[in-house]
């Protein structure tokens, strides 16, 4: 048994990591729906979900159960194989892309082995290319779902999404080229390290400043790739019922839903890694007191949750909320007291905070922006976004060339 564990340790660790990441991503997905409904509700002066559990926190669980137990009819005349394949494909590709994201530079030492955060090691040579390869295939889930349903609204939704994804894929890829030129690598770890050349500059060393145009193009194209508002034409409910997933119900619909939210998380990861320094702290390296920031956020938040919980109207809430608050406060205290842990969580803390900010921006946009008209969408993608991202590539390469020629920088 022991020798088996030793020879297959890498494989076992990877399997455990996959299971763990799957669990975390699916949980985060579930609570992302809660977060989205809450934020959009507050933008529109409503309360959002608040009946199921304290502050509606059990709503995702109720939704999940509903998805599982709903009747799942297969419409007549569908292409069976493709109809079943489409949601699987969408979900599998979305989850694969998140497996390629590194969540921290340093490994944890457990059982005498270095375990990296993230399923692939952080210095994968073709990191960003592999990610683009997976996201390039993501369109099939939507397009095939639309086609195989054998119904007019899904077909229109599928057509729209293929056209939209072809158009915005170009700008998406072109807008990253500037970042790749600055880093000189496809490796996600090296791209982040290239943003830490001036440790004292803090957040002013990030790619977003020289690549502000690239970031603009990337973020818009990425939102369009994930079919989110204001680019959610494939599922425009006022025109196409529900677009490509009209004929899907129950868990097959949930799979599309999870795929969409997972790709939102992936895009947020990519935005933070490519343009916002990934796991780098926004403060200069010499500001060591910034290391206590995670605790300075977690402890007051935990205390607030306890304070809010003991006054909650239901007994269940009065038990659950202070409990959760205690856990959060204890976590914050742990990060202050154990220096090793404090050092280690810095990188993941910053990356996760940035991801959270981008997820909030996604929801914020959904709450505020109206949907594009179809011709506007095409004109915007081809006539504005693509030329801008090409200009960005040309300007960036000339600046890098000029630096090499005249200032002898390398």
């Amino acid at each position: 048994m022991n020798s088996f564990l030793n020879t297959n340790a890498e494989l076992l660790i990877t399997l455990v990591k996959i299971a763990l990441l799957l669990f975390i991503v699916l949980t985060v997905n579930a609570y992302l729906t809660w977060f989205e409904r809450k934020v959009v509700a507050h933008i529109q002066s409503r309360w959002g979900p608040h009946r199921v559990g304290p502050h509606g926190l059990l709503q995702p669980l109720a939704d999940g159960l509903k998805f599982l137990f709903k009747e799942d009819p297969t419409p007549a005349g569908v292409d069976k194989f493709v109809y079943y394949l489409a949601p699987l494909l969408a979900l599998a590709l979305a989850l694969t892309s998140i497996a390629l994201i590194p969540f921290g530079p340093d490994p944890i030492r457990l059982f005498g082995r270095d375990i990296y955060l993230g399923i692939t090691p952080p210095d994968l040579n073709i990191g960003i290319l592999a990610l683009f390869a997976v996201t390039a295939l993501a369109v099939y889930g939507v397009a095939l779902a639309g086609w195989s349903s054998n119904s007019k609204y899904p077909l229109l939704g599928g057509l729209r999404s293929s056209a939209q994804m072809i158009s915005y894929e170009l700008s998406l890829t072109m807008s990253v080229v500037g970042v790749l030129l600055l880093a000189g690598s496809f490796n996600l770890k090296k791209i982040i390290e290239a943003q830490s050349h001036h440790p004292e500059w803090g957040l002013f060393g990030w790619n977003v400043w020289p690549q502000i145009l690239g970031f603009f193009c990337f973020f818009i194209a990425a939102v369009a790739e994930t079919n989110r508002v204001p680019f959610d034409l494939p599922e425009a409910e006022s025109e196409l019922v529900a677009g490509f997933h009209t004929e899907y119900s129950s868990f097959k619909f949930a799979m599309f839903f999870i795929a969409e939210y997972t790709s939102m998380i992936t895009v947020s990861c990519l935005c933070s890694i490519l343009f916002f320094g990934g796991w780098l702290s926004p403060f200069p390296v010499s500001w060591t007191f910034a290391h206590y920031l995670p605790s300075a956020i977690l402890i007051p938040f935990g205390l607030w949750v306890i304070w809010d919980g003991i006054r909650y109207e239901t007994l269940f809430g009065r038990i659950i909320l202070p409990g959760a608050g205690t856990v959060i406060t204890a976590l914050g205290a742990l990060f202050v007291l154990l220096l090793n842990v404090n050092e280690f969580i810095q990188a993941p803390f910053w990356l996760l905070s940035k991801i959270f900010v981008f997820l909030f921006v996604y929801v914020w946009m959904r709450g505020t922006l109206p949907r594009f008209r179809y011709d506007q969408l095409m004109a915007f993608g081809w006539k504005l976004l693509l030329p801008l991202s090409i200009v960005n590539v040309i300007v960036t390469s000339f600046v890098i060339l000029a630096k090499m020629q005249w200032w002898g920088a390398k």
């Binding site: 292409d79 194989f81 493709v82 040579n125 073709i126 290319l129 592999a130 683009f132 390869a133 997976v134 390039a136 295939l137 369109v139 099939y140 397009a143 095939l144 639309g146 086609w147 077909l155 599928g158 057509l159 293929s162 056209a163 994804m165 072809i166 894929e169 890829t173 496809f186």
Partner: protein, 167 residues
């Protein structure tokens, strides 16, 4: 059998099954899906040879862009199940003959020159991103630029043809 060989056989079998199913499928969408399987299996084979960049580009360009366009056009035209005419049935016999001849030719070539194939499978350095860009933008820069010019002409031609006449 090493793990590498096992992966090779899985990918190779997948590619062959995809290719055969591409021909045998009745519906164009199913054929297009089979072609995607072939493309991705080929990308896996490139990865196995150490050509990471080529593998990723294979999926992005062929698996992603080109095949999406195929699927898009098939969906747009709402192409139905393939119809067999008497001529298309007759074309099967010489086609089969050609397949056998081609397979024999390829097999004979591989059987004759084992060393050459061994040499080309050692791509490592040449297939890195740097190696490929050096080849494209240094050694073969004129053919490369000419090709891109050709593509530009084709794009312009397609745009002109597709444009509605102004009344």
């Amino acid at each position: 059998m090493t793990a590498q060989l096992a992966v090779f056989f899985v990918l190779a079998v997948l590619a062959v099954i995809g290719a055969v199913s591409l021909i045998l499928q009745k519906h164009p969408i199913h054929s297009a899906l089979s072609l995607i399987v072939v493309m991705i299996a080929l990308a896996g084979l490139y990865l196995l040879l150490g050509a990471e960049f080529v593998a990723a580009v294979q999926i992005i360009v062929y698996g992603g862009a080109i095949m999406v366009l195929f699927v898009f056009v098939i969906m747009l035209l709402n192409a139905g199940i393939e119809e067999h005419t008497s001529i298309s049935k007759m074309a099967g016999a010489p086609g089969l003959l050609l397949v056998v001849a081609l397979a024999g030719f390829v097999a004979a070539t591989i059987a004759r020159s084992t060393e050459n194939i061994q040499a080309t499978s050692q791509t490592g350095e040449l297939a890195s991103t740097l190696g490929i860009s050096n080849m494209l933008f240094k050694d073969f820069v004129y053919p490369f630029e000419l090709t891109s010019f050709l593509i530009l002409v084709a794009v312009l031609g397609a745009t002109v043809l597709a444009q509605r006449e102004k009344s």
